[in-house]
């Protein structure tokens, strides 16, 4: 590490810290892209097995090269820009949707010390940035000048902002018990408590005392990423593909990347906020990056599992769930946690 740092200094001089940061970012983004690629493979394989099919198995051993073949295919496909479309916005939209999906990773703590930007308002930043994704979708629908795209983007935007309110309210309870906006501090706060002092910190993590909020956050996360069963923004059987119906080739691939990157991001945030991030569930095993990755993988499997299990919601049901179930529940639970912490039975001293 030190030798590499010295080599970089001799190469770039004063710009070294910046180059170093860029290298760290690349070290986050490249594995992320690989995970996105193989998440699509895992999705097809897992859903295949759940439906008693084999899934892709032609390209390479067990179809392991399938994502690469897909990427190459999309690369050589024509990027079609419809005549009625607003060209600049049409091409800007995919970029606007991938930037927030990636940029939020800057504040995710991978382990006790491994964190790119240890900012004190990390949670606020992650929330703000991930809510910018809606601009990409709205722009895509508007710029395409196609009815399906327009309807899809309207639906999607209304759904995203509705569930964001529920998500934000669920986060308030996490903040109340953590006393910090810093994501690393939120993880550390989960390693304390009655169960943690008895060696099973698994039961001290936020998911158990804040169980209803954990469920709200997780379900809202599925809705935020437009995944089944909340995927009526795409709803291929009713409005073809929703906001990205006019996109093809690489422009489509970027929307696809953004959707899967968002899925991984929501999993990472859920793991960090409710499932103890890098903390080990039992005291006799060491903490570390491995645990965070294991938790993210488990949550991603959950994402795929519910896609294979549930039918698509109707739009009015989605909105009812968000506004008439989750938001009242969150409001009540904020008061409950407040009263709990005021009472002598406060477990977050």
């Amino acid at each position: 590490m030190a030798a590499l740092h010295e080599f970089l200094t001799s190469l770039f001089g004063a710009a070294t810290p910046t180059i170093w940061i860029v290298l760290q970012i690349v070290a986050i983004v490249l594995p992320l892209m690989a995970v996105v690629a193989y998440l699509t493979y895992a999705e097809r394989k897992i859903i295949g097995f759940m439906q008693v099919r084999i899934g892709p198995d032609r390209v390479g051993y067990w179809g392991l090269l399938q994502p690469i073949a897909d990427a190459l295919k999309l690369l050589v496909k024509e990027i079609i820009i419809p005549t009625g479309a607003d060209k600049a916005l049409f091409l800007l939209a995919p970029i606007l949707s991938i930037v927030p999906a990636l940029a939020a990773w800057a504040v995710i703590p991978f382990s006790d010390t491994l964190i790119l930007a240890d900012v004190n308002a990390g949670l606020l930043y992650a929330m703000a940035v991930s809510s910018l994704g809606v601009y990409g979708i709205i722009l895509a629908g508007w710029a395409s000048n196609s009815k399906y795209a327009f309807l899809g983007s309207m639906r999607s935007a209304a759904q995203l902002i509705s569930y964001e309110v529920a998500m934000g309210m669920a986060l308030i309870t996490v903040l109340m018990v953590s006393n910090s906006l810093n994501l690393a501090d939120i993880v550390r706060a989960q390693g304390e408590g009655i169960f943690a002092s008895h060696g099973v910190s698994f039961f001290s993590w936020n998911w158990l005392p804040l169980l209803p909020m954990f469920v709200v956050y997780l379900v809202s996360g599925v809705a935020e990423t437009n995944r089944a069963p909340f995927d009526m923004a795409e709803g291929e059987s009713e409005i073809v593909a929703g906001f990205h119906v006019e996109y093809s080739g690489m422009a489509f691939a970027i929307f696809f990347l953004a959707e899967y990157a968002n899925m991984i991001l929501v999993s990472a945030l859920t793991a960090t906020l409710f499932l103890g991030g890098w903390l080990s569930p039992v005291s006799f095993l060491p903490d570390g990056l491995f645990w965070l990755l294991a938790k993210i993988s488990a949550l991603l499997f959950f994402f795929l599992w519910i896609r294979a299990t549930f039918p698509r919601y109707r739009y009015d049901q989605v909105m009812r769930l968000g506004w008439k179930v989750f938001i009242p529940l969150c409001l009540v639970w904020i008061v409950v946690v407040g009263c709990w912490m005021m009472s002598p039975w406060n477990i977050w001293k």
Binding site: I21, I79, L102, A103, V165, M250, D316
Partner: protein
């Protein structure tokens, strides 16, 4: 303090590059053989009837307005929630800090119930 945010800025720029690079690459590598049928908006094979930027349901707009209100309320709750542990452990402001926010949430609930009763949250 602000230095901590520098990696964030660079990350946003890298993200933009990650988005733009495949677009440029795709544009260079892929063929471009446009024709009028291919470039027309997709409408299940029909000619597009009218401009796609048509009237849309006012409820989308209503939801957006409600979102702004509620997100603002959340923005007000955030700082309070962040220091709530300190409020609880400080005897002098313990009950004041708690009661004040309960009043705030009560006002929020009144507004929420009003929107609910008025049917702003209904989709039929």
């Amino acid at each position: 303090m602000l230095e901590n945010y520098f990696p964030v800025l660079i990350f946003i720029l890298v993200g933009a590059v990650v988005g733009a690079l495949p677009l440029i690459l795709g544009w260079v590598v892929s063929p471009s053989r446009p024709d009028s049928e291919k470039l027309s908006p997709y409408e299940c094979g029909f000619e597009a009837f009218e401009d796609a930027r048509m009237k849309f349901d006012v409820r989308y707009y209503l939801i957006a307005i409600l979102f702004i209100l509620f997100d603002l309320e959340i923005a007000f709750l955030f700082p309070w929630a962040t220091i709530f542990k300190e409020i609880v452990s400080t005897d002098t402001i313990k009950w004041f800090g708690f009661a004040e926010m309960m009043v705030f949430i009560a006002i929020l609930v009144v507004g929420f119930v009003y929107a609910w009763v008025k049917g702003a949250l209904d989709w039929e």
